[in-house]
Symmetry: C2
Subunit: 126 residues, 2 copies
């Protein structure tokens, strides 16, 4: 159940179907402690796709236990300028994000995300 919900959410992101985002994300959603709300959450994602034109979310691993969804996401993309404070300038990088979602009333209410910045640093140091 949560798995199907989550796969549909990720598909919504990859389609950049921002009008549908409210089916998955709560009006008062928080992301890493920040009270973004649905509109701030949407703005964050739109900016991500602006900064990373070839952004695509790929689910590598998924463990669901209500009310939690835990996902390991893989990315293989080319941020245009800076990313996480690192100068990428269009180079292609690959990295993982391990992220927990707390689902309340059928929507994502709280997100705890960690991106593997050290892996990106290793790649751009080469």
């Amino acid at each position: 159940m949560l798995k199907a919900f989550y796969r549909a959410y990720i598909d919504c992101l990859n389609r950049q179907d921002w009008n549908e985002l409210g089916r998955y994300v709560a009006d008062d959603a928080r992301h890493n402690g920040r009270p973004l709300g649905l509109s701030g959450y949407r703005s964050m994602l739109i900016k991500d796709f602006e900064d990373i034109p070839d952004l695509r979310f790929t689910i590598d691993r998924l463990a669901c236990e209500p009310p939690l969804i835990a996902a390991r996401l893989l990315f293989d993309c080319s941020p245009k300028g800076n990313f996480l404070g690192l100068r990428i300038d269009g180079r292609r990088i690959s990295f993982a994000e391990n992220v927990f979602y707390e689902v309340r009333n059928g929507k994502i209410a709280d997100v705890f995300s960690v991106i593997d910045k050290a892996a990106i640093e290793d790649q751009i140091a080469k």
Copy 2:
């Protein structure tokens, strides 16, 4: 079942009970793609406790769905020298680790860990 197993594993780490580690970790365990095996895994943990004398693993969130365990761990500790390539020098830092474990034949066989390095950078920049 996996929850109790995982809590016992974390308790084993916090006790630094290295003789018991093989009850939880497979002989051919991998960690972030590295084929450490049980002995290499043990060595990694022993070094962690040497580098961070007040290291303690605290489970913040836990989602188990066989064969996966997904945990968000919180740390509040004082690494002696460098940590993740950052000069800490005994300062107290707090950070999260989001980590997936694949369990095979009742033991941790594969680990995919991401530590929130950006959060540590923010703290030491202050």
